[in-house]
Subunit: 523 residues, 2 copies
Amino acid sequence: MGEWLVGDILERSVLLYGDRPAVIDGEVRRNYAETSGRIRSLAAGLLSLGIQPSQHIGILAGNSHRYFETYFAAHYAGTPLAPLNIRLSGPELEFIINDGDLRALLVGPEYLELLDSFRDRLPKLEHVILLADNAPEGMAAYEELVKGSEPLAEPARDWREEDMINLCYTGGTTGLPKGVMLSQRNVVANAQHSQMTFSFEESDVWLHAAPMFHLADAWACYSVTAAGGAHAFVPGFAPEPFLEIVQDAGVTATILVPTMINFVVNHPKVPDFELSSLRALLFGASPMPTERILAAREIFGPILAQAYGMTETAPLLTAQRLEWLDYDTPEGIERLASCGRQVQGVAVRVVDEDGGPVPPGGTGEVVARGPNVMLGYWNRPEETAAVLKDGWMHTGDVARIDDQGFIYIVDRSKDMIVSGGENVYTTETEGALYEHAAVLEAAVFGIPDDQWGEAVHAAVVLHEGLSATETDLIKHCRALIAGYKCPKSVEFHDTPLPKSGAGKILKTALRASWWEGYERGVN
Amino acid sequence: MGEWLVGDILERSVLLYGDRPAVIDGEVRRNYAETSGRIRSLAAGLLSLGIQPSQHIGILAGNSHRYFETYFAAHYAGTPLAPLNIRLSGPELEFIINDGDLRALLVGPEYLELLDSFRDRLPKLEHVILLADNAPEGMAAYEELVKGSEPLAEPARDWREEDMINLCYTGGTTGLPKGVMLSQRNVVANAQHSQMTFSFEESDVWLHAAPMFHLADAWACYSVTAAGGAHAFVPGFAPEPFLEIVQDAGVTATILVPTMINFVVNHPKVPDFELSSLRALLFGASPMPTERILAAREIFGPILAQAYGMTETAPLLTAQRLEWLDYDTPEGIERLASCGRQVQGVAVRVVDEDGGPVPPGGTGEVVARGPNVMLGYWNRPEETAAVLKDGWMHTGDVARIDDQGFIYIVDRSKDMIVSGGENVYTTETEGALYEHAAVLEAAVFGIPDDQWGEAVHAAVVLHEGLSATETDLIKHCRALIAGYKCPKSVEFHDTPLPKSGAGKILKTALRASWWEGYERGVN
């Protein structure tokens, strides 16, 4: 009797808000009743191709109303959905599509050429659906599936809340991307936690401006739908289209990464746009210096609120609420750097090495427990066991907590760089560097960057007698991994890199000089 | 990793809102940090008496901050709590205490004499805790337990979310009260559903004016605490104390039954009180004629919202939201009679006899599915199976649903009378009547009553040659069951009562003439 699933979210909104706008995407404007019909027809269409319930499907596309529909169609078709990172290279996508057992891929026209470059190395992929009105030989067209299929009355699968509905690949700390298995309950729990936190209403219009393959934005597909609000889209973020759609669609809420906010704040045309519909501008994924928050407040008003989470927690863990923000006292200004406090429904603690909570003011690892915590990593029992232990999800993020429960992320994680909102796992970049014949030792870490928050930087020791330039090494990496994961700069050392007693390279020591006088997240 | 329990609600509020008011009860004002300490000490004190985790405890008392504390202490002591109906007779309480395996009972001083009258017939009850500073020989004092015990750092039991934490007895349709088993997940889910519905904030002050033994009010212990709001109390409802505390404590929200609202609206001193802090006046449990709603709006403003639920669903199923209310159009006025629409997190359908949803405008039985639906009835597998079937909780309530999902309860249930906010199960009253030697046939049903909403009425056929007056029969019932369950009036028939083909008495036919020109819930 305990089930409340993704389909229930949509069905309630069709019942309560059927004639209210669901999607606003250029010329496309449809209400919830129409959108639900399309979703159910798409699901029927997918099955008509021969896809079986419980088989995995993927999507590789920019933001659009079709991306939104696909998240819900996965429920009705009974097919867990893997949303793919559009910034990955061909070999990375190939790995994920094979690793994740994807049988079908919905693909935006702009990624078709990339897909073609490795399609013959995808033995399990049987179907390609082009997000378009029609499609060339050998693939199906999204709109033809929608138009040619009777809407499914019920999901094609007898879902249980613990069943995986999303398979979200994240960069792997061992160098390989790994699939985060999110259950129906995970994403529905987060939809409720985020509603309690951000108080969405049927009058809200959410803008999907950050990429919808990433849960940092995709959670709003569920949460805003649950409240009966509308969804607007920009295919890929750029400041002027962002400003235009905020004005034209009457956008009330969105989430951006700090880099995007900076782009908008510094855009010369900002004063030309009417932005007063915005009531909440959430941001996350990387630190935003306080003076940048204050500058953004000048443009948008006191509506900026930092949130913190991760794919493994579907994603929300902590958030600022607007009514907690105080721009008028030194303590309030200092607290702008906080990512807020644990949201309703999730226990979040900052713990010491023994697993006990640190005292107020203390620093430790962020751990979390709640119905939003993932099932685990797909086919990676060891990596799952490394983070899901003693009943808690161990985030690897280091934070300080104050006496009122406000959390300040002081290190995103020991290994991760956040550059322009994208997570870069340094071990993956190091792996690429190590494949170069001349590289003896490599340590990758983030250094301050005004535009991207952090830039990927490498410290390298070369084999005696061999040589490589900075340009050589960057070029070498680009052939192996996505551009954003490659070093932007390289420093060469003549002596071995500093190491711990256990022989581990001490990145903290290497990084220190770069961050001198620059307190992350505060300055 | 999926657990989020009653203790997590309290602990989050201590972390985030530790110095904010938690309870306001006469002279007693304590913040969340202090209240949490008392709760954990009470739990330790209960265990120090010899009560074991997983054993059941009960409480029989009027509303107070101690009642509130007890709901949470049950979590830390690990002891499921049965809140007992203070309006029951001694034999009824005796049945419940024995049926529910209660090992300990917290009791308000005003119920001690009643308890003494049957205490020697409670073989399993080992401990009595008096809600007072000290207690006579043979029982423990609440405040001594609190003061004499170190607060428990952790719950004494390794709770799982499917474990029962509340055992709530409701009148039994077979004549015996039955215990509704509510799990940790049930009550926590409802706390979240109600937060999303009523948007509680840390600035809220909830008034526990309706009896806290009933989930119709008790749910707010969890929900308002989750938001960091405060709790105020009136020991038993009366209009003037209600008005005083709304004014003095700055009450922002509460739930009443229509009878209570009527008492307040008609109270001559209303204009003397400042009631502007109230932002939400919820009501439920029985129909409230529209003109009464409009009269109440004159006093309180447009803050009345009807809610609908039942103990078996922990309890919320549907509710009006204030922003949906419209007092300015005929359609809006008509919709005031609706108990609202399904809340977030619960699927609510109105179904026909085949279990399919009725079309808009249709009438059928209300069924519900969600994580708030009870585990079942304690030791009553057959009665459980009769209501939990095909994945849905069958409420037995008959309702109409409109094209926007608004639900109108047209018959609380085929058998139940709601009189002054109390459920009266007519089969129980009939059972008492049938114990009278002269009674041949009896049918009990509700008739319109301006003060109580409905009054309990009986249609009776006597055995030939035997006699009994209306007064005889009422007096006979009073010796067996609680006063509010007894008929207020009796009609005598000379011929057999009308029956269906299957031989079941047709109450609808009997009731019809009483309700002529009186559309329940509308006029």
